[in-house]
Amino acid sequence: MEVRVANVRKEFDRFPALHDISLDIRSGELIALLGPSGSGKTTLLRLIAGLEAPTEGAIYFGEEDASYKSVQERNVGFVFQHYALFRHMTILENISFGLKVRPSATRPPKGEIRRRALELLDLVQLSGLEKRYPNQLSGGQRQRVALARALAIEPRVLLLDEPFGALDAQVRRELRKWLREIHDNTNHTTVFVTHDQEEALELADRLVVMSQGMIEQVGSPDDVYDKPNSPFVFGFIGESSYLPVEVENKELWVGGRAIGLPAPDETTGAALLYFRPHDVELVEDGAALAGVVAASRRVGGTRRVELEIGGGKERVEIDLPFDHPAGEKSRIAFRPKRWRLFPVKG
């Protein structure tokens, strides 16, 4: 099922949560809404589900305008961050709930409901736990039950609100892989919300990076990581360093020195140079960025050093091989291998 969000605006008590959002979600894709808290990602998800109504704009499921349809009519599977399992029901009763509450005309017979619930329990690898109550399960198991419960109604779209947010790191990684497998097997159009970029990069076919109620960038994980289109995205996805530079004569300058990087276009004036700390090359001579080591620490297999550039006014971080001999106060010259330039407005 394709889902199209068209010029949606949402206000809560006159406070805008989403400004004019448009987004096309392709059928069968696994798409992540990624952003810091307060970016409006959960609001967007709840609007798609019908748990909130848009102040303006429309939401289409396929060709049909679903904006004013109720949650029940939209037939979406929703998985909540805190599971929201029905605590007085067994696992089997939780999973069969969606089928049991159907009107008698469309409700499958009892045996069929039970069979399908057990099948789903098997799909989420929890066979044998059907008689347990939710509080007798671990967090990861509960979230798997919640997913089985959402899948039971054969939803047109599967929506997950920070599904792994309440779990510890180990379980998160396992469930991530497992969700990807389930998605590949069932081919539901799946939208999930997360503030964890690692999760989004690993899991999603496409990312929607959001900030302050607006979409910053939409693209594949590679696109977003390699070609961030705004300082926000560059800073939010992956590690980044930035430095104020001047653009003149088709070259970049820092503190009156050319740093050996060509300007990408005709613009001149102040700009911000963004690059990844690990994406730099050390240079012996020629025009480069030079700095004095102010601090260094070991991060995994590399050494992260903080360099003071231009007499200590600016600091950037770069990664060096862990056995690099640079000590405090030594001088290092480098050039970013890949970088992006964002003009400073005003």
Partner: protein, 289 residues
């Protein structure tokens, strides 16, 4: 492994030493004995002072029977109404944001803070002979004051905070997550309420109902003002007990009092049985989550 002697000295930071535990338990027991058990046994002792025959005779009295019937009737009307009101109010307060919410919560507490006598007087002023409503209703043949409707109204007024007060904090803690899950799974409002909301609040609701019922059967102040104390017609059990006591008919008074106490004990026993019967489920649904 530390030696067992050393282990014995180690105790949880929050547990007190033995003598302190004994003192605390002792104070509680003495207090309960003096304040609760002693008066209660006195009621039964007085009721049976002249033997069980007198006790039964006192209960078989026509006016006593009428008082028991009236008390049960009033409770049977006011408790269900307060369940409906309490669930509605708790739902509105816990699940929605609206203007005047804090004011509504204060209003619900009003019967707790106002003296029951004043509650009764309010109805006398509203429905009395000199009021607007009273004569108008009487022209249609409806008697409110000094009749069952007035007693029921006064009882509802006095008992309406119990259910709502019990449910509001519970529903606020539970939030709307379960309801959202239910409707996203296709349940309509009615199914959501019966299958998800009500099971989540049933223990709190039961407790509220028991308190509400106990108070409805035992209310004296407000009812005494609106009832007019017509023997055999508008006297509830507490009123009848007072009348008998003032007539120095101690055995009859205490017999009826024992009956009233027994009704309260029955509700308590019912609650214990339910808790015991559903103990597993209670443990399974309250922990964690």
């Amino acid at each position: 492994m530390p030696s067992s002697a050393a282990q014995r000295r180690v105790r949880a930071a929050t547990s007190e030493s033995r003598p302190v535990q004994w003192v605390l338990i002792g104070i509680s027991l003495v207090f309960i004995a003096v304040i609760l058990v002693l008066p209660l046994t006195t009621v039964f002792a007085e009721a049976f002072r002249r033997g069980p025959d007198e006790f039964l005779k006192a209960l078989a009295d026509k006016d006593a029977q009428a008082a028991i019937r009236l008390t049960l009737l009033v409770a049977a009307i006011s408790v269900p109404l307060n369940i409906v009101f309490g669930v509605c109010a708790a739902w509105a307060i816990a699940k929605y944001e609206f203007k005047g919410k804090a004011f509504l919560i204060t209003l619900i507490d009003l019967p707790f803070s106002v003296s029951p006598v004043i509650s009764g007087l309010v109805y006398v002023l509203l429905f009395g002979a000199g009021s607007m409503l009273g004569p108008w209703l009487r022209s249609y043949g409806i008697e409110v004051l000094f009749a069952v409707p007035g007693i029921v109204l006064a009882t509802i007024f006095v008992t309406f905070p119990f259910v709502a007060r019990e449910l509001i904090p519970l529903m606020q803690v539970q939030g709307t997550g379960d309801e959202e899950a239910a409707i996203s799974l296709g349940a309509n409002g009615w199914q959501t309420f019966w299958r998800v909301t009500l099971p989540n609040i049933k223990w709190g609701l039961l407790y509220g109902v028991l308190l509400c019922n106990a108070r409805a059967m035992g209310e004296f102040g407000a009812v005494t003002v609106v009832s007019g104390r017509i023997r055999g017609q508008t006297t509830t059990m507490p009123l009848q007990i007072e009348i008998l006591y003032n007539e120095y008919n101690a055995v009859a008074a205490f017999s009826l009092a024992a009956m009233l106490a027994l009704l309260a004990l029955v509700t308590l026993v019912l609650k214990s049985i339910l808790e015991w019967r559903f103990g597993d489920e209670l443990a399974a649904t309250n922990g964690g989550h």
